[in-house]
C-alpha cells in the first residue's frame, strides 16, 4: 500500500522540475523537453487519482494527453527546424523577432 500523497508528491516534483527547466534552460530543444516533463508529471497524477477513485476515465484522459503531446512534439520540432533554418541558432535569447 502506497499513500496517494506519495504519487502526488512525485508528480508535483516532476512538474516543478519542468517549470524550472522551462525557466533556466536557454536551448529551445531542452525547453521543449521540459514541457514534456510537465505533461508527464500531470499524467502521473491522473493515473494515481484514477486508481484512487476507481474511475477508469482518468486513464482515458492520460491517453488523450499523450496524443496531444505527440502532435505537439511533431509540430513544435518542425517549428524548431524552421527557426533554425532562418536564425542559425537554437538559443532563445537570440530569437527575439517574429519575422526577419
Amino acid at each position: 500500500m502506497v499513500p496517494l500523497n506519495y504519487y502526488l508528491l512525485l508528480s508535483g516534483f516532476l512538474f516543478a522540475c519542468g517549470v524550472a527547466g522551462f525557466l533556466i534552460k536557454r536551448n529551445i530543444i531542452t525547453i521543449f523537453m521540459s514541457i514534456e516533463l510537465m505533461l508527464n508529471g500531470v499524467n502521473l497524477s491522473f493515473v494515481a487519482f484514477a486508481a484512487h477513485w476507481h474511475a477508469l476515465s482518468g486513464q482515458i484522459f492520460v491517453f488523450f494527453v499523450m496524443v496531444v503531446a505527440a502532435a505537439e512534439a511533431a509540430v513544435g520540432l518542425a517549428i524548431i527546424i524552421a527557426v533554425y533554418r532562418t536564425r542559425e541558432t537554437l538559443n532563445v535569447d537570440q530569437v527575439n523577432l517574429l519575422k526577419l
Binding site: N5, L23, I29, T30, E36, M66, A74, V75, L90
Partner: protein, 173 residues
C-alpha cells in the same frame, strides 16, 4: 511492502532523471535522461494497475516522441548551450521558484494526509476495459483527436519543408 519499495526505487530513478535533465548542458544528455524519467514512470503506471497506459507510455513517449527529439537534435547538430546574461537572470528566478513551488506542493499534500492509499492492482486498467470506455463513452473526443493528429501531420510537413520545395509543389499544381 513490495509495492512501496518498488515505488520508492523507481521514484528515486525518476527524480534523478528529472534533476539530471536540468543539470546537463548538452541537449542529447537531457534527452536521454528524459527517456529514463519516462521509463521509470511507465513502471509507476504498472504499479498503479494501468497496464495499457504503461505500454503506451513506453511506445509513444519513450519510443516515438523521444526518437523525434533525438533526431532533431542530431539533425540540427545542437551543441552545448552557452551562458548569457539572460540565462543567469533566469537561474536567479528559476531555482528559487522551483524550490518554493515544490515546498508549497509538498506542504499542502502532507498537511492533507487523509487522502487514502493506493493498493497494488487496485484498478484493472486492462486494454479491454479501456477500449470499452474509449470507443463507447469517449468516442467523440477520440474522433476529434484523429482530426487533430491529421492537422498536426500536415502542419509539421508544411513547417519543416524547405521554402524552395513548397514553391516547387505550388508550380506543379
Amino acid at each position: 511492502m513490495l509495492h512501496l519499495s518498488l515505488f520508492l526505487i523507481f521514484g528515486a530513478i525518476c527524480i534523478t532523471g528529472a534533476i539530471n535533465l536540468l543539470v546537463q548542458r548538452h541537449p542529447i544528455n537531457s534527452a536521454l535522461s528524459l527517456v529514463v524519467v519516462m521509463g521509470s514512470l511507465a513502471v509507476e503506471y504498472l504499479l498503479l494497475g494501468a497496464e495499457f497506459v504503461a505500454a503506451v507510455q513506453v511506445i509513444v513517449y519513450a519510443g516515438a516522441v523521444m526518437v523525434l527529439f533525438v533526431f532533431v537534435i542530431m539533425l540540427l547538430n545542437a551543441g552545448e548551450e552557452e551562458q548569457t546574461s539572460g540565462s543567469r537572470v533566469a537561474i536567479l528566478f528559476g531555482i528559487p521558484g522551483m524550490i518554493i513551488g515544490s515546498v508549497l506542493l509538498a506542504w499542502v499534500l502532507v498537511a492533507r494526509s487523509g487522502t487514502g492509499e493506493v493498493a497494488l492492482g487496485a484498478l484493472p486498467g486492462s486494454p479491454r476495459s479501456i477500449a470499452r470506455l474509449l470507443f463507447r463513452d469517449f468516442l467523440l473526443p477520440f474522433e476529434v483527436t484523429s482530426v487533430l493528429v491529421l492537422i498536426a501531420i500536415m502542419g509539421a510537413v508544411v513547417l519543416a519543408a524547405r521554402p524552395e520545395a513548397v514553391e516547387h509543389t505550388k508550380k506543379e499544381g
